[in-house]
Amino acid sequence: MLSPRYHREIPQRYRLEAGKCTGCGKIHFPPRSVCKECGGRAFEMEKLPSKGKVLTCTTVEIPPAEFDDQKPYVNAIVELENGVRLTCMVAEAPPDEVDVGTEVELVFRRLRCGREWEVLQYGYKAVVV
């Protein structure tokens, strides 16, 4: 990922900052320019809760090359306490510890190392509570 895009996405990736439509109250994560519910274009920042449950998940046995050292790992759609859903990797836990309904918390982790000359990329992952 290029530095400008990485920099632009820091609020959502580091601090879980979502966009709440001031017209209808719909919370968008990642933030959008136009509300998909009402078409509104005005948003206020809404910080998402860090706790939630696994809505669904899958085990990745054959990952892209740069994640090969982490296989097998779980990718999950997590439903947070306020109902917002997001997709993320589940860190640390062996696949048999993660299932639908597993309680998780979003934590700050290194997402990608890239090559030695590239910027390190950080953001959220889930861990089993």
Partner: protein
């Protein structure tokens, strides 16, 4: 009154036992366990580094302090394993915790005492009235060459301390530093693993500096070892801090709560700060704590800390050190361990 308004520690889940390292190199595990007084050490996950450890510890410190991160005026991170050679770890950390951009940021390095340095400078800023709150962090994912004695101890973890003048949970009553040019341990630019001078790291380095700093702060404060409930000395292994403490007049009972090295290893810049955090986790109002760090090269920073009524109010607002050490451990074998620590060369992507 100035001092600690919030503290937090982060302990990675992964561990490797002394037996698994010794078994790889045909060494006598029992002799190492006896010599180092160590059972196992922490290992950072594949997605963890000094920055992620610092963020986790800082978030816990903020939870205990109950402050707006925007009021943090400085962020200093002491480590000898900053992920970047050029780009401060603190820049990522302040954005992750919601501090800044009105914040002074710097990365510190002084072998194992860089964390205590970060605390010292953050505390000094607050004491001078320069800012409302200051954040000092000690965190490391320490390096030890395969087969070297350091490999049995070099571990991962860290602690963060928010300094302030309001709602102080533990007042910093005295500070004292003792420093000299003592080349006991070093790593030159471009080298992957540090080097050490064997036994020279003992008496002329660790014991001379830890003892001098401890005696110095006791003299200046007029306090005696029996005035303290807890004492923490930098933990390069299990034996050194117990010997240094005993020599200074402290009992094993005073040192036990902060002596986390037997289950954690040497977290370098995170070592004595995490020992302090472990004491704060269970301290009572009025308890005095003595902390003496050590950084090779060499120097020691000593602190005398006195807990206030607030300390017990915020202890349960974040995970405690010993709970993290006990729960959810995942033990790695040596093969997995070297992969996690990047000690084997893989195919280029």
């Amino acid at each position: 009154m100035h001092g600690i308004v919030g503290w937090g520690s982060y302990v990675p889940r992964f561990r490797i036992k002394v037996e698994d390292i010794a078994g790889q190199w045909g060494a006598d595990a029992a002799a190492f366990k006896r010599g180092l007084l160590l059972e196992e050490k922490t290992v950072p996950g594949l997605d963890e580094d000094t920055i992620t450890i610092s963020v986790a510890a800082a978030r816990y410190a903020i939870a205990r302090a109950g402050i707006d991160p925007k009021d943090i005026g400085c962020c200093y991170i002491g480590s000898e394993s900053h992920p970047y050679a050029v780009k401060p770890s603190g820049t990522v950390v302040i954005d992750a915790i919601g501090a800044g951009p009105d914040c002074h940021v710097a990365d510190f390095e002084f072998a194992c005492k860089a964390g205590a340095e970060a605390m010292y400078v953050a505390y000094s800023h607050v004491k001078s009235g320069e800012m409302k709150y200051g954040l000092g962090i000690g965190a490391d994912t320490s390096q030890g060459a395969p087969g070297d004695a350091l490999e049995y101890t070099a571990s991962a973890g860290g602690s963060a301390f928010i300094m302030g003048a309001d709602n102080v949970a533990a007042e910093i009553v005295h500070t004292y530093s003792f420093t000299s040019d003592t080349p006991d341990f070093w790593r030159r630019e471009g080298e992957f693993y540090p080097r050490h001078a064997g036994r020279f790291t003992g008496d002329p380095a660790y014991f001379h500096h830890v003892g001098s700093a401890t005696n110095g702060i006791l003299e200046r404060s007029g306090m005696k070892p029996e005035d303290f409930r807890f004492a923490v000395f930098h933990m390069p292994n299990g034996k050194f801090p117990l010997r240094a403490g005993k020599k200074a007049g402290f009992t094993r009972e005073q040192m036990e709560q902060g002596w986390v090295v037997n289950l954690m290893g040497n977290t370098y810049s995170g070592s004595s700060p995490t020992g302090l955090a472990s004491c704060l986790d269970v301290a009572k109002p009025g308890d005095n704590i003595l902390v003496t760090s050590f950084g090779s090269g060499a120097g020691s920073d000593s602190f005398i800390i006195r807990c206030t009524d607030r300390v017990t109010e915020i202890q349960d607002k974040a995970p405690k050190v010993r709970d993290q050490l006990a729960k959810g451990r995942i033990h790695l074998d040596y093969g997995k361990y070297v992969a996690y620590r990047g000690k084997i060369r893989m195919n280029q992507l």
